[in-house]
Symmetry: C2
Subunit: 418 residues, 2 copies
């Protein structure tokens, strides 16, 4: 197989399908989503069998247990996929939404209409559920999708693709609206991320290594987030109980998510009274504390932190800690070290809360709540294709709207420019 | 001089200045803009003298008259620069605007805040007024700017940079908020468009060649438009007088602008009656008509068009013309051949107007008005840094808002995730 020709053909079909999807009715798109959900539940045995082929091959190839875990699906995963599609069907259709119409002195009326981006290329690793999530979001937002999952999941992804095509067909939409790349050749990714004429945006989902590689090599805009080195800053005017609750939730609820806190900053004026108790709570949860010299003086169990620690997203039972002089140093430290994902301040002080919100340059800024809230579902987007730490186009959790654009609409009655 | 070190130093300073600009008060930014405007008017003789140095060098180097024309400034150009800054000062400050705050079932309140992009790199050709336009838009939108003008305009740009710095200083803002690259070495551009850690977005302004080169080589997102192959479609249900007026204005008001119509489509049912008269109007304006076989049969003065013609942005006294079967063929032809800039339909039919608006995939879609309206000032943006034919981030005329992003703001009272 010539990979370039194969991928270009997929691109040509996707571009064609994107035109049909852009003008598809809301009811057609919802019908497709619910038909796919039904098919997934009906064919659960087929899916489990396909997944078993992938798992057997993965074990034979000696894949790590964590990878096997991400690759495996169960009756519960299958039910969740179907439920996710039903939820996406219930969201408002963003496409065609018209807004901000105003008359101008020239007499024309001007506003904007929300439109799909066109063709979305999604590159992901072993998790088969991304196939369904991504297909669902692209269908609802009127885009065509080219999906390239990890080679380990190829059987399961092909089985899912069949059901997606069945649903699209039942709704009278082109099956080429969602294409799953059927080769495991890595050259396919290289082609996908450079064929500008057929693909409008790339969304990589997976580990930092994958995303960095794709961002470096892509010649198409990428919606991405690399890491979440999230901070909680305990201000001079923090309420201790809120600080305790928020740090516990931000750090210990789940260790491996991108919105987990990785660094704790605390104002010097409250460090003596609060930090030992906060540290004991963390230690009780099995979290290792790596701190500055002052932290180590105040917290017996703390180990010294290196500068490198303050840049690190641990995704593990470790937190870095630093005593700072106050808000100015906290903001400067965060803007220097964070990955611009999510940062929280704990304070009762109105002026400092307001400054933190304005001056911290991250995709989510939070007052008196857990960093764990930084999530498309928690924010009410209904679904999420990723969290962007970039500033262009989409920032923070990216839902259906992040897969759309706005075009200008001008209405006149024979108007010409003077 | 080591160009890489020189540019990296500029980048480091720009990143620092961008933090100060992001939290600058509205009044400070406006004070800077009006102080620059005053300084420009006061120093008009200095500016004209600097421009003369550039013009003399350009003539000695045998530059083309069109290039010399773009390079030259006059008392009027200088007054326009100052007026432009005063207008930008009068616009609402987009930064810090908060919107869409809602309570979620979890109890958190979630909304968005408008923030600057950070550091904008602007690359342009000979026109010195771009230095002032770009500086003004970046200051008002709370960004830092790195400006790289054409080497032909170096003296004038340096003189302008001094006045920009004077205005920033008077307003208590860092002079490094607007830096003009002082080397004419081309390697500086290569460095500017690849130093990701210091530059957030590149805006190239100039000819198609410049923009294509930059888009191909940049490793930073680019806000760009390449060309404007704009269409007017005269529908079966067009009002003839409106069609005549709109085509005349779209094609003949100015030949060299990106929102000028380059192609005329007309429905077969009205071609016999309308096309000869429309063509005569165009011919009276000195416009050459290149048409399909049917056009050539109906219009004596028409020459045959090639397929290439339908893809061409002439920027000249030429228009391509095609008779189509109706709306479907018109939309398909436009989506195939246009550069996704601006397209207009002339029709009295509600259903066809609605379909044209939805299905034509261009940054501006127009019913019964001239394509010449596609412009930041006409749309009420107050100013324009360019017109984007891309879909990501900004589409169509890009004003202050296009130089900003939205971050999420979460307000809680000790809330944690369940």
């Amino acid at each position: 197989m010539n990979i370039q020709t194969y991928m270009q053909d997929i691109g040509i079909e996707a571009r064609k399908a994107s035109r049909a999807m852009a003008s598809a009715d809301t009811i057609q798109k919802n019908n497709a989503l619910t038909a796919i959900a039904k098919a997934i539940l009906r064919e659960k045995d087929t899916l489990l069998a396909a997944n078993k082929l992938d798992l057997d091959a993965a074990r034979a190839n000696g894949l790590e247990p964590a990878m096997l875990d991400r690759l495996a699906i169960s009756e519960k995963t299958i039910a969740n996929m179907a439920e996710g599609l039903t939820q996406i069907a219930s969201l408002a259709d963003p496409i065609g939404e018209m807004s901000n119409f105003k008359y101008r002195p020239s007499g024309i009326q001007i506003g904007q209409m929300r439109v799909p981006l066109g063709v979305i290329g999604i590159i992901y690793e072993a998790r088969p559920n991304v196939t369904i999530d991504a297909a669902g979001l692209c269908i609802k937002s009127g885009n065509a999708a080219i999906l390239r999952g990890g080679s380990e999941a190829i059987h399961c992804n092909q089985a899912l693709a069949k059901l997606v095509h069945e649903g699209l067909q039942k709704a009278g939409l082109p099956t080429t609206a969602v294409q799953v790349v059927e080769t495991t050749d890595r050259a396919a990714v290289g082609e996908l991320i450079t064929m500008k004429q057929y693909v409008d945006v790339i969304v990589p989902r997976g580990g930092k290594g994958l995303i960095e590689r794709i961002a470096a090599d892509a010649r198409i805009p990428v919606i991405k987030h690399l890491d979440g080195n999230c901070h909680v800053y305990v201000d001079d005017d923090a309420d201790f109980d809120k600080a305790l609750r928020i740090i516990e939730n931000s750090k210990t609820q789940r260790l491996g998510t991108c919105n987990t806190a990785e660094s704790l900053l605390i104002a010097r004026s409250v460090a003596t009274t609060m930090l030992p108790k906060l540290a004991d709570m963390l230690t009780a949860h099995g979290i290792e504390i790596r701190g500055c010299a002052e932290t180590c003086r105040l917290v017996k169990q703390a180990k010294p932190a290196t500068e490198e620690d303050y840049y690190t997203e641990y995704l593990a039972a470790i937190i870095s800690c630093k005593v700072v002089s106050g808000l100015d140093e906290a903001i400067a430290h965060i803007n220097q070290h964070s990955s611009q994902h999510t940062e929280a301040i704990v304070t009762e002080n109105y002026t400092k809360a307001r400054r933190f919100l304005r001056e911290v340059d991250s995709s989510s800024v939070i007052v008196n709540a857990s960093t764990r809230f930084a999530d498309g579902f928690e924010y009410g987007l209904g679904a999420e294709i990723g969290i962007s730490t970039d500033k262009l186009h989409a920032r923070g959790p990216v839902g259906l709207e992040g897969l759309t654009s706005l075009k200008y609409v001008v209405l006149g009655d024979g108007h010409v420019r003077a």
